[in-house]
Amino acid sequence: MRFTFTDEQTLFKDGLDRFLEKNFSLDARRKMVESKEAHSEHVWAGLATMGALGVPISEGSGGLGGAGVEAMIIMQHLGKHLVLEPYLSSVILAGGLVDLCGSEFQKKVLIPELVAGEGKLAFAHAEQLNDEGGELLRTTATQSGNNWVLKGEKKLILGGATADRFIISARTRESNDQNAGVTLFIVESLDESISGKAYPLIDGSRVLDIQLNDVEVGPESVLGTIDQGQSAIDCVNDRATAAICAEALGIMEVVHEMTMEYLRTRKQFGSALSQFQVLQHRAVDMFINIEEVRSLVMNAAAKAWSDNPYERVRAVSAAKALTNRAGRLVAQEAIQLHGGMGMTQELPLADFVKRLLAIELMFGGERFQRLRFANAEDQGSEKTVFVSPKKRWKQI
């Protein structure tokens, strides 16, 4: 059992940190969120050069063969620097789907472009925002000759505004079981039968809603097996959830350090705020929460790429439930301990707190994840016991 990084991982982590330190600033971020891309092609190209875009994609598909731990390292640093790049949406979600279910041909076309930073993908899945986890997809794909026709709407597409291609989930068979009859399709974002609108979230990142107005695609656009897309969707959603917890961890570390610095320098009643025990204890509780999140982020990173759904769901849902609770505490305490300044848009704290809030709201809230954790069932524990035949036949 080892919790430390390998030399290779450490080298990569330090390189990434230096690159982001040099090429991404909060001022630049504030300008970027006003633009319609809401990210920087320069930073994206830099991540591609470092190899970061291929890291969590398997080698067989044209990636670097990393997994949860490498994704954790990257996401924690994207969080630390509050980077806007569509890493989660393009690489982990959509890239993960291509990696998991793509044909040789699809991988050959899509993965090298993705890894080189030349083609971005986005996963278009959510439809009704008022039924988390329980929704039956309403978007349909019906066969027309050899082709498929997609009709419906998709909401809150992360990284959608800058994506070259969407991976769209659609119902290909009538079913009341949300896990059955779902198929994935790869669709060009330029397709004329798609209309949509982009808008910002509370943290300034931009998402897209689209309408699929009888979008016709060929059979080569089907990603994976027809009617059986749901398990891959569950897989990449869990990976993304683990990854976004790592991002939140990176953010919380910065928020905590900002707050400690403020306590050490701000003076009232003739002494630094850090001298007041009541504030010290609140600072310690922030710290404890962050260390707990770190433990479960590591656990989720180790298991999010697992093929065992029980193990994966337990680790990921535990991490997200705790990240949500801790993230809220850390953000609220940071604001409170900064006093009036904590309420202003002016401090960098504002941007970090808002990203934490956005993370809390996506991929399942605290209660939602705890319910999922509690309901996960261990299929593996029901071992089949082989009983050898007892009867002894008479031998002639």
């Binding site: 059992m1 919790f3 433990s295 656990n299 439930a321």
Partner: protein
């Protein structure tokens, strides 16, 4: 990073499970699992079984008769043996003063005390707190005056756990004065049968006799029972606080109690339905389970760090706080799940020879008392408020 157990670690867990299921006396494990009263004899039988196996001193080096297990192995042993109902061993001998003597004791002290600690022949207790010196331990004023070849000790210790079972006590006493109150404190080893030592029970909220006052009136302690240098006892006393950080989290027992909590939630009912189907309570159980998972992963981070030779990082400092909070929340939820079944207070029902019926469910009878007893965990071993002061100063630099 690879947080899976190695093949050796997995085989070790199996070996532990196998040994415990064969050698832990079944009446003892039953008492532990059912929260009955545990006597010295119960603990001793388990102690001796481990001693005979050579497993009684997990962290001690082999040359002193220990197992020399690293902290990951110790964690595995804790989790596996606790799950099967192993009673908590007395920590004061092997876990505390034994470790001190290996690091700071003379060879004669090591030869005199360590073997009997291992065999269970001599039991120890700890004389630190005094009526006027709790969190501010360094203000202690039990005095030891040097007279010829002895120290003469006068004063009073308190909250002394299982002093009524102990043969020996290790004490922090004042042998001199300095500019700082931490100076002039020494550590002495004293026989509980010495003339002038008197043990007076203190009954805790649960009505049980676990802690005591220990009075010293002109008690003579030979000078060879001084540990380390005279006047330098404070740093030795503090050595204990940094020793075996991972054990203080109590993960093994908490995992067992969580399993018990889930069991209770399946056999107790609200409106005819198992409590576990109540969305609010099941959410709180899940929350606790997730916090315990985070604690266990934190323990493993510290343990794995120790194995690779790193000093415990800042994460080690949170173990006492979160570990004890979780222990307390477990007792609170168990109580909430069984509700009125825990009302009857029949201390005889959790004794050794109870054959009668209880008005509530038998298993629920000790839970209210256990809840009260567990309030101690955030007070002993440095209150959780003191722990937060320490983290604020040493880790956060405030």
């Amino acid at each position: 990073m690879d947080i899976n157990f190695t093949q050796e670690e997995i085989s070790f867990s199996e070996e532990v499970r196998d040994f415990v299921s064969k050698h832990l006396p079944s009446d003892v494990s039953r008492k532990v699992l059912e929260h009955k009263r545990i006597g010295k004899d119960d603990v001793l039988r388990w102690h001796v079984a481990l001693y005979e196996k050579g497993w009684i001193a997990p962290s001690w080096p082999k040359r002193f008769g220990g197992c020399d297990w690293n902290s990951v192995y110790r964690h595995i042993f804790d989790v596996e043996s606790s799950a099967l109902g192993a009673p908590r061993l007395s920590p004061f001998g092997i876990g505390m003063i034994g470790a001190v003597l290996m690091a700071h004791g003379t060879e004669a002290q090591q030869n005199t005390y360590l073997p009997k600690m291992l065999s269970g022949e001599e039991w120890w207790c700890q004389g630190y707190s005094e009526p006027g010196s709790g969190s501010d331990l360094a203000s202690l004023n039990t005095r030891a005056e040097r007279k010829g070849e002895s120290y003469v000790v006068n004063g009073q210790k308190t909250w002394t756990t299982h002093a009524q079972w102990a043969d020996k006590i290790f004490c922090l006493v004042r042998t001199g004065s300095g500019t700082r109150k931490q100076e002039g404190i020494s550590m002495l080893l004293c026989d509980m049968n010495s003339p002038g030592v008197e043990v007076r029970p203190i009954l805790t909220l649960d009505g049980e006799h676990e802690v005591n006052e220990v009075w010293f009136q002109d008690v003579e302690v030979p000078v060879e029972n001084l540990v380390g240098e005279e006047g330098k006892g404070w740093s030795i006393g503090k050595f204990l606080l940094s020793h075996e950080r991972t054990a203080i989290a109590g993960v093994g027992v908490s995992k067992r109690e969580l399993a018990y909590l889930k069991h209770l939630a399946s056999i107790h009912h609200y409106h005819g339905k198992p409590v576990k189907e109540d969305p609010v309570l099941s959410d709180r159980i899940a929350e606790l389970e997730i916090d315990l998972l985070a604690l266990e992963m934190t323990v493993l981070r510290v343990a794995a760090g120790e194995v690779s030779g790193r000093e415990p990082g800042p994460e080690a400092s949170i173990l006492k706080i979160r570990g004890t909070e979780i222990q307390q929340r477990l007792t609170e939820l168990q109580l909430e799940v069984v509700g009125q079944s825990a009302l009857p207070h029949l201390p005889m029902a959790w004794g050794d020879h109870w054959m009668g019926e209880t008005p509530g469910a038998l298993h629920a009878a000790p839970l209210a008392a256990r809840y009260l007893n567990t309030r101690k965990t955030s007070i002993y071993g440095g209150t959780n408020e003191i722990q937060r002061n320490i983290i604020a100063q040493r880790v956060l630099g405030l």
